[in-house]
């Protein structure tokens, strides 16, 4: 066990825990934001540098501070470590710089993008970004690519977090896409625009922190904040079948995996559940999904007793009918 202090709050965590994980255990406002780190994907993190923190005391044995800011998703804690996140102006300044770099080539097409409203980069930019860009040169331009029948890729929006590549590596057996070219010219691509047809390829959409990979069956259907998120499940042979439905009226517009409060998928779901089961009768509705009240999606979203009661009553009525 190691005792670590983050922004003055202490916690005992097992050895090998990263600073980011320890910060998430404490929770609250002092959790560093993360774009490329995904708790369910091994070896993710370390690319985007948004989660950098200052280690003001290395450990009890060696109290010297670390010479540079470190990425908290890749740095493991040591006993007696003291970390500064929001309390250090140096970190905030550096993070602003990182956000500015991420936004250099990111187009300002949030009004068009389907990810708007649940985009991590939007949140990050709002909290840490400058209102204006200092970059005068034209942004990178790519054509949209259809990868497979269900996924559309906007390379212009990509921030090179590698999450989708890791998904393909770790939960599917045959990866057909990856990063090609180097540095400023790098892009996610499939070789010769090969279709991604794996059964779990849809999870790429969920892990994408921006709107680079979007669901073609949901494309421009509705803004996220006009849909009602519901927890639902069905018997699926391939996956757990536990999903979040995004409804409008009685129509299921989109099916996604359930995301935890850090916006990371809890369980992977298969393409059949995600793209083909768009009828509300395919699903057993559990109740309204919990949405953070700071999110724009919480607009007109009621998870209160009445909504739950309605579903309860419907269940009981169904049981009565079944008995008869």
């Amino acid at each position: 066990m190691a005792k670590v202090t983050i922004d003055g709050q202490s916690i005992e965590v097992p050895d090998g825990t990263t600073i980011l994980q320890a910060a998430r255990m404490i929770g609250g406002d002092n959790v560093p934001p993360a774009m490329c780190y995904h708790s369910k994907l091994k070896t993710s993190g370390g690319y985007c540098r948004t989660c950098i923190v200052k280690v003001s005391k290395g450990s009890d044995k060696d109290p010297r501070p670390m010479p540079k800011l470190v990425p908290s998703c890749r740095t493991t804690v040591m006993d007696g470590m003291e970390v500064q996140n929001n309390t250090s102006p140096e970190v905030l300044e550096a993070r602003r710089g990182v956000v500015e770099f991420l936004l250099i080539n990111h187009p300002l097409d949030c009004p068009i993008c389907d990810q708007a409203g649940e985009c991590h980069l939007q949140d990050l930019g709002y909290e840490n970004g400058a209102a204006k860009t200092r970059y005068d040169f034209p942004r990178r331009k790519f054509n949209m690519i259809d990868i497979g029948p269900y996924i559309k890729m906007h390379m212009t929006r990509c921030i090179m977090c590698f999450r989708c590549v890791k998904v393909a590596d770790q939960i599917t057996d045959n990866r057909v896409h990856g990063m090609i070219n180097r540095g400023d010219a790098s892009e996610i691509s499939t070789y010769i625009e090969k279709a991604i047809t794996n059964d779990f390829s849809g999870n790429m959409i969920d892990v994408c922190p921006v709107g680079a990979l979007t669901d073609k069956t949901f494309r421009f259907k509705s803004r996220v904040w006009f849909t009602k998120p519901m927890d639902a499940h069905r018997d699926c042979k391939k996956c757990s079948g536990k999903v979040a439905l995004w409804e409008k009226g009685n129509e299921v517009l989109r099916v996604t995996s359930r995301k935890d409060k850090w916006g990371e998928s809890e369980e992977w779901i298969c393409n059949e559940c995600r793209f083909e089961k768009k009828n509300i009768k395919d699903w057993v509705i559990e109740g309204p999904r919990h949405i953070d009240r700071h999110s724009v999606i919480s607009l007109n979203h009621y998870e209160n007793v009445v909504a739950k009661l309605k579903i309860d009553i419907a269940k009981q009525q169904k049981q009565l009918v079944d008995k008869k």
Partner: protein, 191 residues
């Protein structure tokens, strides 16, 4: 009958005097009031021919603007609908096809855009929310209609014409101060 409250008054039918009986003085005094109104300034105007001067910040019927080449600016982002306190705005988005670049400015556009003018309170929040400078409130009045259904204004009424003479001038409300203020994106209001 017993009165229910003390407030009720019993009407007494009094015998009229001779002066009251001939009625003429009462009629003349009444007509005096009527005739005196002929010589007063009229508070009404003949509306369609004559128009009152509007305040510079008058907010009337909405317009969906086109850009310089005549493409629709609206991209159906839904921010006006979120900002609308009366929930008067609804829209359905669609994807622009190849060859429609001159019709729609962005990759996505509003296939349907409807404002319920009975719900609208003309607060102008939609205008403030619009990131594409597409929707504006103008100094035009919303026309009276015979039935409720006609107040659902679709794109046929809201979108301005392509031709120069059919463009709707919105510069009246956009005073120099407003334009200067909108430049400052660092203000909370303009974010």
């Amino acid at each position: 009958m017993q009165p229910l409250t003390n407030r009720s008054k019993v009407v007494v039918k009094k015998e009229m005097s001779l002066y009251e009986k001939i009625y003429l003085p009462a009629i003349i005094s009444g007509m005096m009031i009527t005739f005196s109104h002929f010589f007063r300034k009229k508070p009404t105007i003949q509306y369609p021919e004559q128009k009152r001067e509007f305040s510079g910040t008058y907010r009337g019927q909405h317009v969906l603007k086109r850009d310089e080449i005549g493409a629709e600016r609206c991209t159906a982002c839904g921010l006006c609908a979120v900002a609308c306190p009366a929930e008067a705005i609804t829209m359905i988005a669609g994807e622009r096809k190849k060859g429609e670049e001159k019709l729609y400015r962005e990759e996505k556009y509003a296939v349907n855009y409807e404002i319920n003018m009975l719900r609208c309170i003309f607060c102008g929040d939609c205008e403030d929310a619009c990131p594409k400078e597409a929707i504006f409130l103008t100094d035009r009045m919303v026309k009276p209609e015979n039935n409720r259904g006609s107040f659902f204004y679709g794109k046929d009424i809201l979108v301005e014409g392509v031709e120069k003479e059919k463009r709707i001038d919105i510069s009246r409300r956009q005073t120099a101060e407003v334009l200067e203020f909108k430049k400052h994106k660092e203000f909370d209001h303009n974010r």
